[in-house]
Point group: C2
Chain length 259, copies 2
């Protein structure tokens, strides 16, 4: 049976790839992914056919991965972070769904054995580097309005604000758009304090990694790029300083009755 692995490789460093994913990559003859992610694999990716497609060619990449697997080649489709979170796994199932509905002409896709292997997502890398900001109820919101109307995104930011969720913003800005993050900040500022801790995690686990702790009021889109994840604490989140070290965390609940 033909096999397709959909694998999240985590933040970047092979030190963050689960052994299950490492073994699946070793078993694969063909790797499909954005060039940067394949480069991050280092030796693990050596000697395999590489199918590199540019960022933005997601649909083509999903089809290619299914086609390669359907042709009998054990294939790994790779993304950074968790491939099930704002990444390629959804698109694979969208493609299968379309085939099952007769909207594609690739019946061989249905014979592919699919396995999804999760990875450490950017929010987890950022939260753990900075402390424990995801310690209580949280939500994730993509600020890309390429596929989701901005009104829906704004509804979610308001919901996060009024229900006091910790929020992780994925795709916070792009080369073409920066106003969304400023708008998201302003919405959250109407619900929680200006001093609410914010974590900016950029390229964590890769060369050039950077972690910045700031506040909601001081969150500027100019300090954020496409490779940054933005975490905003809830109204209970706290920043502490121990000597030169800063940490941010969210307590487990509201009434600390067990202490």
């Amino acid at each position: 049976m033909s096999k397709l692995f959909a694998i999240g490789i985590g933040p970047g460093d092979p030190d963050w790839i689960v052994p299950k994913a490492t073994r699946a990559i070793q078993e694969s003859s063909d790797l499909v992914g954005y060039g940067l992610y394949l480069d991050l694999l280092g030796d693990l990716g050596a000697g395999k056919a590489r199918h590199v497609l540019p960022l933005g060619a997601e649909t083509t990449r999903a089809r290619l991965a299914l086609d390669l697997a359907a042709s009998g080649r054990t294939t790994a489709l790779l993304s950074s972070g968790d491939i099930g979170i704002y990444a390629m796994a959804s698109l694979l199932f969208e493609m299968l769904d379309r085939q099952l509905q007769g909207q594609e002409n690739s019946p061989a896709w249905l014979d592919v054995e699919l396995e999804v292997i999760p990875g450490i997502s950017a929010m987890q890398a950022a939260a753990s580097h900075a402390g424990a900001l995801l310690g209580h109820d949280f939500c994730t919101i993509s600020l890309s309005n390429l596929l989701t109307p901005w009104e829906s995104i704004e509804t979610r930011i308001h919901a996060a604000g009024c229900a006091d969720f910790v929020v992780s913003f994925y795709n916070p800005v792009s080369k073409k758009r920066a106003w969304q993050l400023a708008r998201a900040r302003d919405i959250l500022l109407s619900y929680r304090p200006a001093a609410t801790p914010v974590v900016l995690g950029r390229q964590l686990g890769r060369d050039g990694q950077n972690l910045e702790i700031t506040t909601l009021a001081q969150l500027s889109p100019r300090r954020v790029d496409m490779l940054t994840v933005v975490l905003v604490g809830n109204s209970e989140s706290r920043q502490i300083r121990n000597g030169s070290r800063q940490w941010v965390y969210t307590p487990r609940g509201y009434s600390k009755i067990l202490l």
Copy 2:
């Protein structure tokens, strides 16, 4: 300098532990955790001092880990899943915070070098086993009202419903409480279709693992226990069947303009 690692070991199987965590465990002389989690380590935990405290003794466990590290022993505090998500990392920082505020009498804690290493959380294990249900904006809500008033939890469920987030429920039931999950289901049913896909993931990555795909209307607390994570799709989530295989996924956005 004394060292304390706070480590999430993922769902259970060592196959899901990131190499960074494995190395930290190897470097540690002392392991602190709930007995089950230490047992899951197998050979990796052999030959180390084990400090086992029962479930519920979280505060004692955090103090013990800090005390051991402060005494010069390289210590690993372990939890399943991601230690930063509904787990012990927050509590460590609460303890440090209390010490910094003079509410504890353990100044040596402030000399401990702390490192938090994330792991694959239960929602990621469940979503990946079942497809890609976390493919778009989602939130996590703990249904334990031990530390959070039920009114706050209910506010969050309503927010998740009206903003159409995919929802992962942690701590869905306990031996003492089951009504919360039924109430959560009923609230979400006021916002999204009865046929909304639901995933029940129990003990994934461990002996006795079980994955069930059902619908929101059919979600029964009787099929859920303390070791289960409950994932509820949003209004766009879909279930597909390919032969005997069922999958559930959430599409990337609302307008599939790129296909």
